[in-house]
């Protein structure tokens, strides 16, 4: 067997063996953007890092949709997001998980919004999207973040 055959075989095998790890991180295309979900809870874990910040939150025992949600003012951002329409359509998740993984924006965008680093124990509210049919893990890709009395858009930088 020539040396290049051995090298080729090793590369192919190691490439194939990394496949399961490739599934661990999911992209943004699997989320159902027609069904905005509202969540709120206490931050258990905060990964303030790139490619995007991740929070693990715990919902209260009974989650209710705030009465004023549809009336909340949303900040302007550069991308054309119809936040008002999302607030009007917001629903609570059907699944009963109390622990959710929240995906926020990259560090540069959070810095553009001047979002202070969120520490465990903080109360946060979110409007975002989960997987179609709420299948898979309890993950929310956040569109708006409500924390410390302020609202932040996450799709793009402030207008």
């Amino acid at each position: 067997m020539k040396r290049r055959d051995v090298i080729g075989a090793v590369c192919a095998v190691s490439g194939a063996s990394l496949m399961p790890f490739a599934r661990a991180h999911h992209g943004w295309s699997g989320f159902d953007q027609d069904r905005p979900i509202y969540l709120e809870g206490r931050v258990l874990k905060s990964l303030w890092q790139n490619p995007h910040v991740e929070l693990e939150i715990e919902l209260p025992a009974t989650l209710t949709l705030p009465a004023d949600l549809a009336q909340r003012a949303l900040p302007a951002q550069s991308a054309p997001v119809n936040g008002k329409a999302l607030l009007d359509k917001a629903v609570l998740p059907a699944r009963k998980d109390r622990r959710w993984e929240i995906e926020l924006a990259p560090l540069t965008r959070l810095q553009a919004w001047k979002v202070a680093e969120i520490k465990p124990g903080t109360q946060v509210s979110l409007l975002g999207f989960t997987f179609a049919g709420e299948k898979g893990d309890a993950v929310l890709r956040a569109e708006y973040l409500f924390v410390d009395g302020k609202v932040y858009g996450l799709r793009s930088s402030p207008a």
């Binding site: 943004w28 295309s29 159902d32 790139n50 490619p51 990259p106 799709r155 793009s156």
Partner: protein
């Protein structure tokens, strides 16, 4: 119609993979030609090397452009509002202008100081295009 590309589970990342392969073909082959213009591999006839290298680079550009157009079509308003994207488009025009200048004055035959300046500029511009492209998601 193109907006559906965004919500399909793997369509967008697949386009990104194709886009990256186009970038690799384009950038790698331009750097190869640049080294030849700077005098490395002098035994290799320039015209023959250029035919091979520029052909591949052009194929890479077309692959990147087509996949890029499809990604753009899935969310045009959002991308046009993104400064990294608009800067990238401006840089593409600059790269085209530089290429036109290179071929227009016969730099491949002259292989003089200006040819080297143009090739070095080309690499800088394309690296900036690459950086802007990656920056889009972080803006």
């Amino acid at each position: 119609m193109f907006a559906a590309l965004k919500s399909h589970l793997w369509a967008y990342p697949a386009l990104e993979m194709v886009h990256i392969s186009g970038i690799a073909l384009l950038l790698g082959n331009l750097v190869l030609l640049e080294l030849r213009v700077f005098g490395m591999g002098a035994a290799l006839p320039v015209r023959d090397l250029a035919r091979l290298s520029l052909g591949l680079a052009l194929s890479g550009f077309v692959i990147a452009a087509v996949s890029g157009l499809l990604m753009f079509a899935s969310q045009p308003a959002e991308l046009l509002a993104n400064r990294a994207f608009t800067l990238k488009m401006l840089l593409l025009f600059t790269a085209a202008g530089n290429a036109a200048w290179f071929h227009g004055r016969g730099s491949l035959d002259k292989l003089d100081v200006w040819a080297r300046v143009q090739m070095a500029l080309s690499t800088l511009i394309w690296l900036a295009v690459l950086a802007c492209g990656r920056w889009i998601a972080y803006r």
